[in-house]
């Protein structure tokens, strides 16, 4: 979604709704995993479509606030309809239907691979260029014949479906879900920090970022098991440092190392400047 210029803090809402869809499917209807996951994806796509329809042409800050509000609103709703969602007590996935952690990890890896393939396919398509155009300026893109509403719908629906799938899988993995866990801000934070750390506008960046971040969080969990909050503190530090000092993430650093080594110094610097301008439009540069 960052590729289309939308700051989305809605990840928790997609993940939560996918989680609840999967958990309710298992708990109330007794569906197995391969039937519950498509339901999560469907729920996510519908929520994405709803968000696209309601937020219209909002961008930037207002979109961010709106999406954050949706996450919190869904949390309140999940809390207040205990008949469906188990309310504050939460809902669990029946033990008989669950698989062991090993098979879940395999399933997760397969789905992650599928998501990556989807992302690769999209990045080579017209969809990707349309989103990049929207990021640079939605009205300008509209003048070129692009329908921003349709691409927003697409972006939100796809991203929502993927996030909900992750949420559903995570609900099955842990076996228990309650509104605080499902819609927790942690999920949104990870969803923002990981791509930023890895490289925001690349395909492989979020993967690298997610792996690094998971490694860091597991390391802190093992190393500082006594004190809660160290993991999140590190997330915060990584977030601030990445935005201020590493705007292109790990992938960007890597690319910079490669170009510095290969080309002549002057030529590589001009290449870098052009890439920076294209990917990360800088308002002060435009003022001149």
């Amino acid at each position: 979604m960052a590729n289309a210029g939308l700051i989305s803090l809605a990840h928790a809402s997609f993940s939560g709704i996918g989680g609840y869809a999967a958990a309710i499917a298992a708990h109330t209807f007794g569906l197995p995993l391969y039937a519950a996951l498509p339901l999560s994806i469907l729920a996510g796509v519908m929520l994405g479509a709803f968000l696209a329809a309601t937020t219209g042409r909002l961008s930037g800050l207002f979109f961010a606030i709106g999406t954050l509000a949706v996450s919190e609103a869904l949390r309140v709703v999940a809390l207040m309809v205990p008949d469906m969602t188990g309310g504050a007590q939460g809902i669990d996935v029946p033990q008989g239907l669950r698989f062991g952690p090993h098979s879940m990890a395999v399933a997760a890896a397969v789905l992650a691979g599928a998501a990556l393939l989807l992302s690769l396919a999209l990045s080579a398509s017209r969809f990707h260029y349309a989103c990049r155009a929207m990021r640079s300026g939605e009205s300008a893109a509209q003048m070129l014949g692009l329908n921003p509403r349709r691409y927003r719908l697409g972006v939100l629906a796809i991203s929502g479906g993927l996030a909900s799938c992750a949420g559903g899988l995570s609900a099955w993995y842990t076996g228990f879900l309650d509104p605080g866990i499902a819609f927790s801000l942690d999920i949104t934070i990870i969803a923002q920090v990981a791509p930023l750390l890895g490289g925001l506008y690349t395909v492989v960046g979020p993967v690298i970022g997610a792996l690094v971040l998971t490694g860091v969080s597991e390391a802190t969990r093992l190393g500082f098991s006594g004190t809660p909050g160290v993991g999140q503190l590190l997330y915060g530090v990584i977030l601030v440092v990445s935005v201020l000092l590493m705007p292109h993430g790990i992938v960007g650093l890597f690319k910079r190392l490669l170009t510095r080594r290969n080309a002549a110094a002057v030529r590589s610097r001009s290449q870098l400047a052009a890439a920076h301008e294209g990917n990360h439009p800088n308002p002060s540069a435009e003022r001149t």
């Binding site: 960052a2 210029g5 700051i7 309601t54 937020t55 219209g56 042409r57 909002l58 961008s59 930037g60 800050l61 207002f62 961010a64 606030i65 709106g66 954050l68 509000a69 949706v70 919190e72 609103a73 309140v76 709703v77 809390l79 207040m80 640079s136 300026g137 939605e138 009205s139 300008a140 003048m143 801000l185 934070i189 923002q192 930023l196 004190t227 809660p228 909050g229 160290v230 999140q232 503190l233 997330y235 915060g236 530090v237 990584i238 977030l239 601030v240 935005v243 201020l244 439009p281 800088n282 308002p283 002060s284 435009e286 003022r287």
Partner: protein
């Protein structure tokens, strides 16, 4: 409707607190055009400051209010001067992410240092209440005092904005930054000053709610979202709008809590529902037009703003120029 007077009074008392909470955000967004997701942490730090002041030295929160506000103002000023190179005029996404990260850091430092146990200050007046009409109307004294101080601070802010040189300078910057520079106003210093003021107001809110709500490292985030909902309701960057939005939200929550079954649970969702309704309404009213807060004056009322205002998408270049070539935003960019 039974309990209507009680409901109205409760809504008013809550509204005073919400006003103070939102006004710092409105000031920082209106003047500095800076989205501060760490503002919730100023509430948290103010509350913890009041708690430790009362726990370690037995100081009443109201007495600790002014020193804590001064500390908050200075820290805000210094922080802004430190970060301004990166954050002024940065795309909104950068501001949001950096302040979000800072908020996370502050939250977790507080969690690690002070643990997540719920604390509270308990000054003597917070535990009593005034009763009218033979107990039919109960006004908790702690909330009354907090609301009174909050509204007094808001009035001081209004007077500052209207009658002092520095306040007028802030309004000038909020209206048109380039023209303010031409008038000899040092924009960067004013930005840091206004940010310091907004931090001080956040700290004041924290101090006042320390005896009303539980003080935990995570208390900031809920109030932050409500604060954002309020300034969106009232029109981004307008102080009068923040006041109106705050009372709208507080009355909404109180009415839902009283008259809807299970209302106290649903009350939390009122902020988001209202936010969404406003987004939908404005979207419907303006169809495809964009919104531009640069034209909104800091002290203007929501009514005149809804008549003339357009929201501004945060695309760093291009889009607003297509709408009206004569807008102030063209000068600013």
């Amino acid at each position: 409707m039974q309990d209507l007077p009680q409901c109205l009074v409760d809504g008013f008392l809550l509204g005073g607190l919400y006003t103070l909470a939102a006004i710092g955000l409105a000031l920082s967004f209106g003047v500095v055009r800076f989205v501060n997701f760490a503002h919730g942490e100023t509430f948290m730090l103010g509350a913890y400051g009041a708690f430790w002041a009362s726990h370690l030295w037995g100081v009443d929160p109201l007495v600790a209010l002014v020193p804590l506000m001064i500390v908050g103002a200075i820290s805000g000023y210094l922080l802004f001067r430190g970060l301004s190179r990166w954050l002024i005029d940065a795309p909104h996404i950068n501001q949001i992410l950096v302040t979000f990260g800072l908020g996370l850091i502050l939250q977790n430092v507080a969690l690690i240092s002070w643990t997540g146990n719920q604390r509270s200050t308990s000054p003597a007046y917070a535990l009593t209440s005034l009763e009218f009409w033979q107990g039919q109307l109960v006004v908790p004294l702690g909330r009354l005092v907090a609301c009174g101080v909050a509204l007094a601070l808001v009035c001081v802010l209004f007077c500052w904005l209207k009658y002092t040189e520095v306040g007028r300078a802030s309004r000038a910057i909020a209206e048109n930054r380039s023209a303010a520079t031409l008038m000899g106003i040092s924009v960067h210093r004013m930005y840091a000053l206004t940010f310091g003021l907004s931090t001080a107001l956040g700290v004041a809110t924290g101090v006042l709610v320390s005896s009303i709500f539980a003080v935990t490292p995570f208390m900031g985030f809920d109030m932050l979202i409500k604060g954002f909902a309020i300034i969106v309701l009232g029109g981004m960057g307008s102080i009068a709008g923040a006041v109106a939005g705050a009372f709208l939200l507080s009355y909404g929550e109180t009415f839902v809590a009283y008259y809807v079954p299970d209302g106290s649970g649903w009350g939390e969702g009122v902020a988001f529902a209202l936010l969404f309704v406003i987004l939908l309404l404005r979207h419907a009213a303006c169809s495809d037009k964009r919104w531009r807060p640069e034209r909104c004056h800091l002290l203007s009322t929501p009514a005149c703003r809804s008549a003339c205002c357009h929201w501004h998408g945060s695309a760093p270049h291009g889009s607003h120029r297509l709408n009206t070539p004569t807008s102030y935003s063209a000068l600013q960019r």
